[in-house]
Amino acid sequence: MAAELMRGQNHPLSRNRIEIRISADVPVVAGVTLADENGQVRGADRVAHPGSPALPGIEVSRQAAAEHRLAVDLGTVSAAVHRVSVLIALPTTPGGLLRFGAVAAPRAAVVGLDGTEVAGYTLTGLDAESAVVALELYRRQGAWKIRAVGQGYAEGLTALFTDQGLPEAAELAGGIEEAVARGMARSVPAGTTQTDRSRRTAASVAGPDLPGTAPAADSAYDARTSPAASGTPAAAQGSTPTGGPVDYTHPKRHQASPPTAPAAPAPAEGPASPVAGDAVGWSMDERLYNQVWGMFEDLARSTAAYRSAVDFAESRMEKELDQVLSDPRNRLGATGDAARDAARARQAQLADQARAALDRDLAQLTAESEVVEPALPPAYARWDNPVWHGYRVPTEPPMAVRLGDLHLPESAPLRIPMLVRLPLERGLWIDSGLAPTADGAFPDAGELRHLALQTAVALAARLLAAHPAGEFGVQVIDPAGAGASALAPLMGAGVLTAPPATGAAGVAEALGRLTERVDLVQMAVRGGASDALPPGLDTSRQLLIVNDFPHGFDDRAVTQLRYLADEGPDAGVHLLLVADREDAVAYGPLLDPLWRSLMRLTPVADDHLADPWVGHAWTYEPCLAPAGSHVLQQVLTQVAIARTKRM
């Protein structure tokens, strides 16, 4: 029978080998300090923390997580140790929480090796504290006892360590912060480009067995990377009474279910009703990404089948009509007409069959899209998606962002989100020139330029919002200052790293700074000394928006820009060019490699993107905030607040 301890209460501990389990609503850092008989922690080597996870008899996790299992063997702990304190702290990562009062009370439990709980303690009543001693194990007359401590520190780990008499408290706290940040960087999902896998090679009739609905977020690490946990905390936290009644269920469990919370999949005949997250992946983020790419592939292939059938029907009809014509008996009279009608009827029948098959697939994909779109996290969602209203600055970047929508002529109004992996491997080019297929419906050149820059701003805002505070910066080069009105959302919210660079000198200065940064990062990486970067260097990713390229660029600046396009992405510098290729025609073929290296997007619908399976020409449409909506400003304001908090 497990004891539920109150603050200050103690409990006997009859075994030496135990596990201490910590569960919290958000990722936390867990550590252990070892104190002598006077309650003093003698040095940093008496502290187990993510940067130094193992001490004799003690082992803690290497990273921040919502659930921890610390291994403790009191028999192995040095005889000089009289007190083992278990501490929890909120990581000071950008965008992270700064006080325990903002989340549900964490819980610490002492568990035997057989899984039975010896004693547990829920740390209620915390408020401004960001570090807390949860439990201590202490020697009393040759035996160990457990005490529920709950001593919190608003000034964080530094204060906690100082209180325990540790001389180098601040350095140690800094080291832990660094180790946690490294751990977070490691846990960003690795590149699994499994986009062309079959989602339903053979099982279309059996119905999907829905791996996506399995609570794969059982482990703390999954829960942490799941957008369900990080993307919708507004609702979750709003309803979580801080320090309220004790909730003994795992705080993460209910968040592991997909946001649309579908009932159990009906294993009925016919196509099962679609479910968001119905794809493989380690996190909801990844599952939705894979699902969207699966829908993309299905639509590409389904349309390929349709087009192939219609082409065939057409060519067969023509062949048959030719045969009718070449037979002199058919030149006149009813037999010829009948043969022609028969050929046309055969064509129409096959085309109808093909359309029916396509319509069946479109209906299925549309139904899937209707459940998937509302379930998308902000980075994947259109600006009109309500998820943006509950937007919170994330603690880690998502797998991908939505660059726009894709559709085929046959598939309208179904739109497939165009998701591209982060970090961006290629620069982006918003084409402000008139598309060659202009049918007169396009806005005039000035309007198009404005629209192109608006598209760029919406993309920049999305990228800013997708990254934790301070991990992504945006700089603007607007040589003639022509883009002030379109840039207003970025300028107004104050999220730009610096005011837009104007004039030739501004261009040279901005490019020079980024080039130097790419050089330094490259040198450090090649030399294998990435920690040897100058301390003042801002290591966050940078997006450089260049408006009206090549206006205001001299040859040297063009060369630098090409260098940034080639080498930037690996060094964390990304380009977003707003340009009309016609304007750069004076450079001749010199710039061809630059244009080729960028992904071309358009401010208006344009069919220029090919899928990787069949190569259809897909129509791209940018994602813009709905007219009259303030969602962009609201989101950018949040980004700006999170950033100043971090400063």
Partner: protein, 192 residues
């Protein structure tokens, strides 16, 4: 219950209970060349390749083989090239999955072929077979042994074609010569 098919034999892919098959797998297996050790043995690997050609009215429309693993419409998928063969114990070394319900409406026949990419004739290949499996439950529907291969390097094994609302498989077993399916198209046309 598996049927051992003979040349020219046709079986309907209708299920006994009246339902029709939704997905089938065409498996190909053969025994790898014997090994005498790894060094200096110059084992002459046997590389057989399974291919599927999709026809509409006797016109080849699409093909699935080791360089194009998925038909454009996604209904036929090759699981990947096996370059050396297997144990020869009856397991599939290469497989082609067919989602019958998703085959485009104008495709009326799918022809499965085997080629010896490395040039050995079927006389030199042991325990080669092809078989058709109901992919939804793993049951073997039909098996066709590539025996009596003679001096041939390719075989047109079977075709799956529309008959009424469902599909029928016919074992063909027509010998041919060729390195890849392209060499076989003239031989395939007469059997459509």
């Amino acid at each position: 219950m598996s049927v051992n098919m003979t040349k020219g034999q046709a079986i309907s892919l209708e299920k006994k209970d009246g339902g029709s098959l939704s997905a089938v797998r065409m498996g190909l297996g053969w025994k790898a060349a014997p090994r005498r050790g790894l060094f200096g043995s110059r084992t002459r690997e046997i590389d057989l390749d399974a291919s599927a050609v999709l026809f509409a009215d006797k016109q080849p429309v699409d093909v699935v083989f080791f360089r194009h693993l998925v038909s454009d419409d996604g209904s036929v998928r090759h699981t990947g090239d096996n370059l050396v063969g297997g144990a020869g114990q009856g397991g599939d070394d290469e497989a082609i999955l067919v989602d019958l319900a998703r085959i485009p409406v104008h495709i009326d026949q799918i022809v499965f072929t085997v080629n010896s990419f490395t040039g050995q004739t079927f006389q030199e290949v042991q325990n080669a077979f092809c078989r058709l499996v109901d992919e939804t439950n793993g049951q073997e529907l039909a098996r066709y042994t590539l025996d009596g291969g003679g001096e041939y390097t390719a075989q047109i094994m079977a075709k799956v074609h529309r008959s009424g609302p469902g599909w029928t498989m016919t074992a063909l077993g027509v010998p041919a010569k060729g390195r890849t399916f392209q060499d076989l198209v003239p031989t395939i046309l007469p059997v459509l």
